[in-house]
């Protein structure tokens, strides 16, 4: 009964999610915020995989042979996303700069772009891809921006976008990633229902949801407690602890052994939780980044152990209850 109930409730909720998202997209279209108002989503893949390169004063320009995803060229445009690390090389501090870029293929025309950037922020460059030949290498030349900032590009910090995808298609794939979470929540509700009454069962399901959604906050808190405890122990060992009885600015927060133990237990427990990002692909959609089938498969695989445990526990609890005939 438990397995069937999880399947039934999970499937119905999944169908409602897909149907609801489809009609919500229709509503957006009717309201004037349709597909035309947003950039098409694309699958982005690392374009610089060879290792870290940089444009600094010592090496003011560099050439990279880009790995372009299949289907991106020839096309309407080749979209490149950059997430470099800015390095202050001295001089007047500027909040923004401009980065000269050149893209070409052997024997082809050179395309120039001057892209504005702010240190610490990613940026996008677009090139015309209609005349590019997929059989030839695509060479990107990056010049150092004038002014203070040099840029370091770690491997994978330049991404090339694949062919554009319909937003509705990406939304449906995001819904597919969300479905394992619906089965998990349904199983948590059933676990509570197998032993308790409806309000407790609801509370249990909501608690799991809150735990999944807030796990980053809990992890940050637990890590802070562990760090503070380690620092305090280190200071005590080195004999640098304050000896005048007053708190100093650099004195770490006081952590009791119980707090430290709870933080350790929380960190171990949180390791067993699947990350919420695996199910909730909202940030990808807002970043106009396509959701890939392996990401959906990963979400399903991450949910599987938890789902098995919840179903098994619910079955055990239900089998211990007395069922009375009507």
């Amino acid at each position: 009964m438990i397995v069937g109930s999880v399947l039934g409730h999970g499937l119905l909720a999944s169908l409602l999610l897909v149907g609801g998202l489809a009609t919500a997209l229709l509503g957006l279209e009717i309201g004037g915020l349709g597909t035309g108002q947003r950039e098409p989503t694309r699958a982005f893949a690392p374009a610089n995989v060879a290792g870290e390169v940089s444009v600094v004063r010592a090496t003011p320009s560099l050439e990279i042979q880009l790995q372009v995803p299949p289907g991106a060229i020839p096309g309407e445009e080749l979209v490149l996303r950059f997430a470099p690390r800015a390095v202050n090389e001295g001089g007047a501090l500027e909040r923004t700069g401009s980065l000269p870029l050149m893209l070409h293929q052997p024997g082809g025309d050179v395309q120039y772009r001057d892209i504005g950037f702010a240190p610490g922020r990613s940026f996008t460059a677009r090139f015309v891809a209609a005349d590019l030949d997929p059989a030839l290498p695509v060479i990107l030349t990056i010049h150092r921006p004038s002014g203070t900032w040099g840029l370091v590009f770690p491997a994978g910090s330049i991404e090339a976008g694949g062919p554009p995808e319909l937003f509705v298609q990406t939304t449906m794939k995001a819904a597919l990633c969300m479905m394992p979470l619906l089965f998990l929540i349904s199983a948590a509700g059933l676990l509570g229902a197998a032993r308790f009454n409806a309000p407790t069962a609801l509370g249990l399901g909501l608690a799991l949801l809150v735990l999944l959604a807030g796990q980053d906050v809990l992890r940050d808190g637990a890590e802070y407690v562990v760090r503070a405890s380690e620092t305090a122990r280190q200071l005590e060992t080195e004999g640098h602890a304050a000896d005048d009885g007053r708190e100093h600015a650099d004195t770490p927060a006081e952590v009791s052994p119980l707090q430290r133990s709870l933080a350790d237990v929380a960190l171990v427990g949180l390791r067993a939780l699947p990350p919420m990002d695996a199910f909730d692909r909202t940030s990808d959609l807002l970043d106009r980044r396509s959701v890939t089938p392996p990401q959906c498969a990963r979400a399903a695989l991450l949910a599987l152990p938890g789902l098995s445990v919840l179903v098994l526990a619910a079955w055990l609890l239900l089998s211990r209850r007395d069922l009375l005939p009507t």
Binding site: L12, T23, L28, G205
Partner: protein, 91 residues
């Protein structure tokens, strides 16, 4: 094989119960969410408004789907245990 048939029968029953309890309202309600988001979200340009509207739409529909997964799951079995219907299902 019998186990799978039983699982499928219970799953179908749960889905039918969900439909009977008018959970299907979520689908047409999506139009209202999308339309409302498109008409009322703020933003400096269409792209910014589209991003906000997408966030609203995804958040609202995912939230409703989570409730549609949780509430029937948490309430059905206690009711069936109380009325004795669970005995007939497991028999």
């Amino acid at each position: 094989m019998t186990f799978l048939r039983q699982v499928a029968a219970i799953a179908e029953l749960r889905a039918r119960q969900g439909v009977a309890s008018r959970l299907g309202f979520i689908v047409p309600f999506g139009v209202v969410v999308g339309l409302g988001a498109a008409l009322w979200v703020p933003g400096v340009d269409a792209a910014a408004r589209a991003a906000t509207a997408d966030r609203v739409m995804l958040g609202a529909m995912s939230g409703l789907a989570v409730l549609a997964a949780l509430i029937p799951a948490a309430t059905t079995i206690p009711r069936e245990l109380r009325t004795g219907a669970a005995y007939r299902l497991l028999a």
